[in-house]
Amino acid sequence: MLLRNVFGKTIRDLRWPTFWVAFSLAIGGGYFTALYPTYVKAFDLESMMEKFPDTLKALIGGSDWDLSNATGFLNIELFPLILPALLAGFAIALCSGFTAGEESRGTIDVLLSYPVPRWRMVMEKVAALVVSMVLIAIAMLAGIQVGAVISNSPVDLDKVSAGLFLATLLSLDFGLMALALAAWRGNRGAAAGIPIGLMVVMYLVQSLSPQIETLRAVNPLSLFHYYLGHNALKNGLDLGDTAVLAVVVVVFFVASLVLFERRDLAA
């Protein structure tokens, strides 16, 4: 039934990767939430973090933390780096292969000798990725909620959803950057490597810009600025930041379609 079109075939290809990432993040989210009370008591985290130097504080989520509840704990432990790194890594790994993988395996010649427009092939694959990422986010949210119930430490589901939504958008930014690079040149390695490198740089720029004057000027170029800037887990979604991350998704998506349409495909 899934083999009706490129979208269905991609969903089929992604079913196990999606399951394992969703499962791991659900377990991870549940684990951190369930252990929140233990962690805070056992390590007296709040006073420990007070003693950290500012640079280190910046790297693990800035000074705007609040450990009085599980949502704040997740805001330090998972959301600044681990979650977006995992989600973006997933998106980059897949997107870099959507066109370039078919080219390097040689299956593109068969696929595009059928009446499937190039733009449609790209669009259906991206649609399947979005479905996969939404499922992963829902699974993680469910895992966090289960953890919250187990440890009797309630989380603010609205805020956590907002954070997950932004993390998904941010990951799609990097994923579709990989897709656009792959559509442009057909080189999967570069298409995956460049977004990963940029992600690290952008994260450091956002985290260190409070301490380093010169970084502050370039910080608006960092996508992490829009992901972390308004602290979604504390303050909810900021419309401007969300719009920037969404526009970047659209720009890279359109670029992918245009670049892939124009290019000679690898034999």
Partner: protein, 309 residues
């Protein structure tokens, strides 16, 4: 009637390196057309241009009367293609892949698909990644023929097929032709497809050298002959015969190359007691020799030697 394939001055460069140069080719409908050339001559480049997988540097191409760029989807609905390096989705079984490709195509003659699976002796329940090259090729053939396309473009389709399946394949091509459909087959070996094709085009170093019917081509071709006599014969009696070249006599065996008709040679040989005559199959390289004359023949010979080395 609209030509199945028509290219005008079709040219493709990959950066500075040559793909094809100025290829003008017409393939009429209802024919089996052989597209011959050594490896790297530009066969696959031409085919991938026809399918709009790559874009020309110059010239243009029409398939079934439609522009390959503007009308790609309409063309793809009516054309089947098997690439030279056939790669299929290894994680699917043969049947799953055929279902997927049929869905992408939008129409499949399902009973005919089952007939094809049976005829080609394909086990459609096995995963493609576990299949041998020949069996993968069978999946490709079923996929290509199952939609009864108006035009089949097959890039080296016979590589890896066993002789039995080769016969089935030829039968399928002939059946397609009998139904008025067109088959375009590329190959680097003339003997594999000469009995199948109505006409062949020869491409070499990116340029289309000639398009001929098989009998004309063979008449122009050089043939190597070996004749065993009962007693030694004088070489000079054969050296000046029309079309005969490179005569050597080793004891009782005469070896030579003949271009075109062998009539004069056979009549001269008949003056002596002949024990046996052997004609060595005409290779593509030798047809090129026929086309280029001695100067280019030397080049072609070198190339062949190079390939062997």
């Amino acid at each position: 009637m609209v030509n199945a394939i028509e290219t005008e001055h079709l040219t493709k460069y990959y950066g500075k390196s040559r793909g094809i140069i100025d290829v003008s080719l017409v393939v009429e409908p209802g024919q089996i057309f052989g597209f011959l050339g050594p490896n790297g001559a530009g066969k696959s480049t031409t085919i991938r241009l026809l399918l709009d997988l790559i874009r020309p540097t110059g010239g243009h191409a029409r398939v079934l009367g439609m522009d390959v760029r503007r009308d790609r989807l309409a063309i793809d609905r009516r054309v089947s293609y098997i690439p030279g390096e056939l790669s299929l989705y290894g994680e699917l079984t043969g049947r799953q892949l055929l279902t997927y490709l049929g869905n992408l195509q939008g129409r499949v003659d399902e009973p005919y698909r089952e007939v094809l699976i049976e005829r080609l002796d394909l086990d459609p329940t096995k995963r493609i990644k576990g299949l041998s090259r020949g069996n993968k090729q069978k999946v490709g053939l079923v996929a290509a023929f199952m939609i009864r396309p108006e035009l089949l473009i097959l890039d080296e389709p016979t590589a890896g097929l066993d002789p039995f399946i080769q016969l089935e394949f030829e039968d399928l091509c002939e059946q397609a032709r009998a139904e008025g459909r067109t088959v375009f087959i590329s190959s680097h070996q003339l003997p594999e497809i000469e009995h199948l094709c109505d006409r062949v085009g020869i491409i070499r170093e990116g340029r289309l050298i000639t398009v001929e019917s098989i009998p004309v081509l063979k008449a122009k071709a050089r043939r190597r002959l070996e004749i065993d006599f009962a007693k030694p014969v004088p070489a000079k009696r054969f050296a000046n015969l029309p079309g005969v070249e490179g005569v050597t006599v080793d004891e009782c065996t005469l070896r030579c190359t003949v271009m075109g008709s062998v009539d004069a040679l056979i009549k001269e040989a008949a003056r002596f007691e002949v024990e046996s005559v052997r004609s060595i199959d005409t290779s593509l390289e030798e047809i090129f020799l026929g086309y280029y004359g001695d100067g280019a023949a030397l080049g072609a010979g070198k190339e062949a030697g190079h390939a062997a080395a």
